[in-house]
């Protein structure tokens, strides 16, 4: 008696609907614009700063006399490194609201009582945040374009650098979403995400004094350690594996947190 619809494409369509809704929410609030604006500002600042350093090198102001410098080595690699730091500080704000706000306002009840699986919700939210991140990152293509216009950088390390940024940003987002799903308070979500990411950044700083095995383990865990090779133009499966498992762990924790919220009310 009631309308029934084919279900084959439904699951993907649900995910996309959710991702679209997420993305939209960023753009109707000042969030996306603030994020884009400050990211562009900071990235531009680092861009000029690393260009200055490179120019000083090439003009021989460090005492070696004028010389040709490698654009990739002297400009792009430090720039990617600095971008990683900007992301570490900004992405927690991108993910903080994702679940916390839905839980606070009661719309989580809508999602969880709709014919959506937890996995669809989790993937939808992740895709939404990732899309915003990719859009934000694409702002930097202008700067890179200028480098290609005036200079002659190798495109390989640039491509691998972007891949690294995507994977690393994905990890940040995945952790942020997991933490957002554990609270109703955006502030708490953002702050905790930032603290956790910072911890994963500096985790190997105490390793030096405590024996080589610990050092190896802590170094492996460090989230920025794995990024360096990407900015050098090396795509190492170890690093890819690290980031992919990082993302998967974050999504898994989100699933666990949604499930436990359900049982504990």
């Amino acid at each position: 008696m009631h309308l029934r619809y084919p279900r084959k494409k439904e699951s993907m369509s649900n995910v996309l609907a959710l991702a679209h809704k997420e993305l939209r929410a960023y753009f109707v609030s000042p969030m996306a614009y603030a994020l884009f604006g400050f990211f562009a500002l900071l990235f531009g600042w680092f861009y000029i700063a690393s260009m200055n350093v490179m120019l000083q090198y090439s003009m021989g102001q460090f005492g070696q006399g004028p010389q040709a410098v490698n654009l990739n080595e002297f400009m792009i690699r430090p720039l990617f490194g600095n971008t990683a730091i900007i992301l570490l500080m900004m992405l927690p704000f991108l993910t903080a609201r994702a679940y916390a706000e839905e839980k606070r306002s009661g719309t989580m009840e809508l999602l969880l009582t709709s014919p959506l699986s937890d996995l669809q919700i989790i993937i939808g939210k992740f895709l939404g945040a990732m899309t915003l991140y990719v859009l934000m990152l694409s702002l930097t293509l202008i700067h890179v374009g200028i480098l290609f216009w005036y200079g002659d950088p190798e495109w390989g390390p640039i491509a691998s650098g972007y891949l690294g940024l995507l994977l690393m940003g994905g990890s940040f987002i995945s952790v942020g979403l997991a933490i957002s799903s554990m609270t109703q308070n955006q502030m708490v979500a953002g702050l905790s995400t930032f603290a956790v990411l910072l911890l994963f950044w500096i985790i190997n700083w105490i390793g030096d004094a405590s024996g080589s095995t610990t050092q190896t383990v802590l170094s492996y865990l460090s989230i920025l350690e794995h990024f360096d090779d990407f900015s050098k133009g090396v795509i190492d499966t170890t690093h890819v594996t690290y980031y992919v498992s990082f993302i998967a762990t974050g999504l898994f924790l989100t699933a666990k947190s949604l499930d436990s919220a359900r049982w504990n009310g």
Partner: protein
């Protein structure tokens, strides 16, 4: 259409819902009545798959909400206590989003959103942001969201809360209209709502079902045993014992009268009229009979009686001293199938 079997929900040591069972037939409107905190919302959340039950089973259109959540959710429309709206979406965008996560294709979603807006009379609000709507409109958008995908079962948690009287009447009319195609469960703590909208009532208190019946039957059955209020001038005498001795009297209790005097409530067994016998008993003892009147039991009294912890005159304890929870009404018909 909806079956709830021995559902229990515990949070640690707190039992929010305790062994609840009932069923709802297709096309029926079932009222879920109880004081705040009785477990209405928890039960509804279990039915909608938002919360898992600690024990027991709930089925929607034959699908267990725990084992086949998606199938059950597809057939359920749910209006939570606070309408789950996204403030940054317009009414139409919101409804189309809900249509999409319910699996309707885009064009069909647009059509159903339009229909739902018409039915809930919010078409003129289509382009307004949900965050800017008044409470009454929010509630209606919530209702539109619930009926959007033509679910078999509608679960409405306090659908008229916060509405003005005219909106309440409109909403109740709408719910009655919907009942033909949908099975409706609505919760409320407002009694007239139940007698006006529902075909059957589940009264729930402290997480337990206290009674399941039609509003009329509920009133009739409780009136079956009649209560008479007496005020007697008999200083120092043991009035309770004397009244208790009158044939046909089930129970006598001392109550506070209107102006602070002591009065007595007398319940007759098997609904008999004992007024004549009572007045005779009083008069022959030489006491002054100041007042004698039958107590009318409204649905309100029944509700209070069934849900108050220790009522002054508890029908349920009349014969065999069983607890109110085990009160006969709750079982025979509605509950265990």
């Amino acid at each position: 259409m909806v079956e709830v079997q021995h559902v229990t929900k515990r949070y640690g040591s707190l039992t929010a819902v305790d062994d609840i069972s009932f069923r709802v037939e297709p096309g029926e409107i079932l009222g879920f009545l109880g004081p705040n905190g009785a477990g209405k919302t928890t039960t509804m959340r279990i039915l909608t798959g938002f919360l898992p039950a600690t024990e027991g089973h709930a089925r929607i259109a034959g699908f267990d909400v725990f084992d086949h959540p998606l199938e059950a959710k597809r057939r359920t429309g749910y209006l939570p206590e606070t309408p789950p709206l996204y403030p940054e979406m317009t009414v139409e965008e919101y409804l189309r989003f809900v249509a999409r996560i319910n699996g309707l294709p885009s064009s069909e979603g647009r059509r159903q959103a339009g229909l739902a807006m018409e039915r809930t009379r919010i078409s003129d609000m289509a382009d307004r942001f949900c965050g800017k709507l008044s409470k009454g409109y929010r509630q209606r958008v919530g209702l539109a969201q619930a009926i959007l995908h033509n679910p078999d079962v509608l679960i409405l948690d306090e659908p008229t809360a916060g509405l003005d009287p005219r909106q309440i009447i409109e909403t109740r009319r709408l719910i009655r209209e919907l009942a033909g195609d949908h099975t409706v469960i609505l919760s409320t703590h407002i009694l007239p709502e139940v007698s006006q909208t529902c075909q059957r009532v589940v009264i729930i208190n402290r997480g337990r079902v206290v009674a399941v019946d039609t509003p009329d039957n509920l009133t009739a059955r409780l009136q079956g045993s009649q209560t008479v209020y007496l005020q007697i001038d008999a200083p120092g005498a043991d009035v309770v014992a004397a009244l208790q001795a009158v044939p046909g009297v089930a129970r006598v209790s001392e109550v506070e009268g209107r102006d602070g005097d002591t009065g007595y409530e007398v319940e007759s067994s098997d609904g008999g009229d004992v007024r004549r016998e009572l007045s005779h008993a009083v008069v022959t003892r030489g006491w002054g009979l100041l007042e004698l009147r039958p107590q009318q039991m409204s649905l309100e009294d029944i509700f209070l009686q069934l849900t108050t912890e220790e009522p002054p005159s508890d029908l349920a304890q009349s014969d065999d001293g069983t607890a109110p929870d085990a009160f006969a009404l709750s079982t025979e018909e509605g509950v265990h199938e």
